[in-house]
Symmetry: C2
Subunit: 324 residues, 2 copies
């Protein structure tokens, strides 16, 4: 009703709805590097993280606020702040939300962006992390490992001369896009919530192993993930020998990237056995893949690989995102 | 309904209410210095700024989210993050609001805190900046200049040996408290909104001259402020000669501090002439002082001092808060 320019924004909540509120702080050199992200990407990524949180609650995002802190020199650069806002606004609009307010401050050195998204859900339809029960099947949207691989491509490119970096094969560019401008699964999350299909849900912002551990802890359950079922991003494979120069960027095992790499912003959710027949193969064009099963708490969180069960130790967040 | 620990918090908005949403980003070395603020103060001040925004809309704060970024060394210091949250929670609770969520990240160097407050107001009762009309009288709650003077006391004390700094007279301590742990005028703002008394309102976060300029610009009006009526904080006076050592801290003219010093978080509001009889002398124990009148746009924003009108140039924010 009233947006940017007053002390606060005014919203008229839809009668009978519950509201979902989430906030994500992005910090330069921790969550993104200026070398790989232009202002528009920073705005995009900040809002993507919060839209994804609303999706993971089974809600629909409606309103966005953005608190931006930038150093003086960026502040003075024409278009810097407006491009950052514009990247945020464009992604919000694509997913049915509007930027209604925020705050712009100066910082001594790093860019910081706090993205706040308010969404809505029908009462009783929001999907929390704590609803998984033994016997529920574990699903994930899309594919995993792409964003972490994209970060490696960026980091590797930084060590190459300019021209070589531009000669990247197409799939490397796609991996970079997964890292820089991720697509939150907003429509998938909303449909799963509205149709009452998910018993618990979380987004894979920290990485599958970490986020599954969060979900299991909140639900008081264990889980078994089948390694062979994990949908590894098709571009994340060992690079053929002919591409030896670039292969360093992806030297990690593809499965490791898919299990532990963060920032894919896919949805990880559980479905009661009785609801499996109602679950489509694709939702809004995005494949849904069954990767395992919820078990009793005492059986831990395990990975089935080549016939053996091993511990699936949460190691997403620290290892890949905050490696510096 | 669901607070910290999931992807988003869930709130059930009161039926028929409008919601007010505001966000304020506080950055170390820009908005506060670690030397003068302990973690609890930082949490307090961050939330105070946002509570004050809700008050300035004539609403009542209900829910608070806090995004905190701290360097690794603070993260590892026992109690640092919890004290910061606790300072925020305590102030929120005092004003009828609850901390329901947030985000904690690490930063390379500075502490950053983004405070998000959601409040409520009856439809049509929110007070915006744009409602002032020529002939409306201008009022301010409490007193002005205390927070800016408090900052000077801090900065001056940093140049004194420890023992001398501890010998500050009581009123210097009160000025420091105005700077460090300001009291947002939550109940005053809510009552002004609910009773329909204010035509426009803003809080004095940037300083009277700057915030009055914001209000006039949004309303498309001019204003005349009577210097003799401005309620200068009683502790902001030239220090007597006997206190010569400390007087440096307050060497600025008291009126200048009251006109341009920010961070007092008082409410600056306008009242239609017909409503003046309904306005009490004090609201929730806080004095309301008439300091001037709204005029036509073309007459500018003026200060009446010693019988002469001079321009009241906005010079709060840059001058005092961001002097470094």
């Amino acid at each position: 009703m009233l947006g940017i320019g007053d002390d606060a924004a005014i919203i008229a909540p839809p009668p009978g709805s519950h509201l979902l509120v989430t906030t994500d702080l992005l910090v330069e050199d921790m969550d993104f590097r200026r070398a790989y992200f232009d202002p528009r990407d920073i705005g995009h990524k900040a809002v993507a993280a919060s839209l994804s949180d609303i999706a993971a609650m089974g809600g629909r995002p409606r309103w966005v606020l953005l608190s931006i802190g930038v150093p003086q020199k960026d502040w003075e650069q024409p278009g810097f702040v407006s491009c950052l806002y514009s990247g945020a606004e464009q992604l919000a609009r694509q997913h049915g939300a509007t930027v209604i307010g925020g705050d712009v401050s100066r910082t001594p050195k790093q860019i910081v962006v706090d993205s706040i998204v308010i969404g809505e859900a029908a009462p009783g339809r929001a999907v929390v992390r704590s609803g998984a029960r033994p016997g529920d099947q574990i699903f994930v949207t899309g594919s995993l490992g792409g964003a972490a691989a994209g970060l490696r491509v960026f980091e590797h490119a930084a060590t190459l001369p300019g021209e070589a970096a531009h000669a990247f094969p197409q799939r490397f560019l796609q991996l970079r896009a997964r890292q820089r401008t991720p697509t939150p699964r907003v429509e998938c999350g909303a449909l799963l919530g509205e149709r009452g299909l998910a018993t618990a849900m979380i987004d894979t912002s920290d990485g599958l192993s970490s986020d599954l551990a969060h979900l299991c802890r909140e639900s008081g359950v264990g889980a078994l993930v089948n390694a062979a079922s994990v949908p590894v991003n098709p571009h994340v494979r060992r690079v053929p020998a002919a591409r030896g120069t670039f292969s360093l960027a992806l030297k990690a095992d593809a499965l490791q990237l898919a299990l532990h790499g963060g920032e894919d912003y896919e949805l990880l959710f559980t479905v009661a056995p009785s609801n499996i027949p109602r679950l489509p193969k694709k939702l809004n064009g995005v494949p849904l893949t069954r990767i395992g099963e919820i078990r009793e708490l005492g059986r831990g969180v395990k990975l089935l690989r080549e016939g053996c069960e091993e511990d699936l130790t949460p190691s997403g967040f620290e290892h890949f995102r905050r490696a510096d």
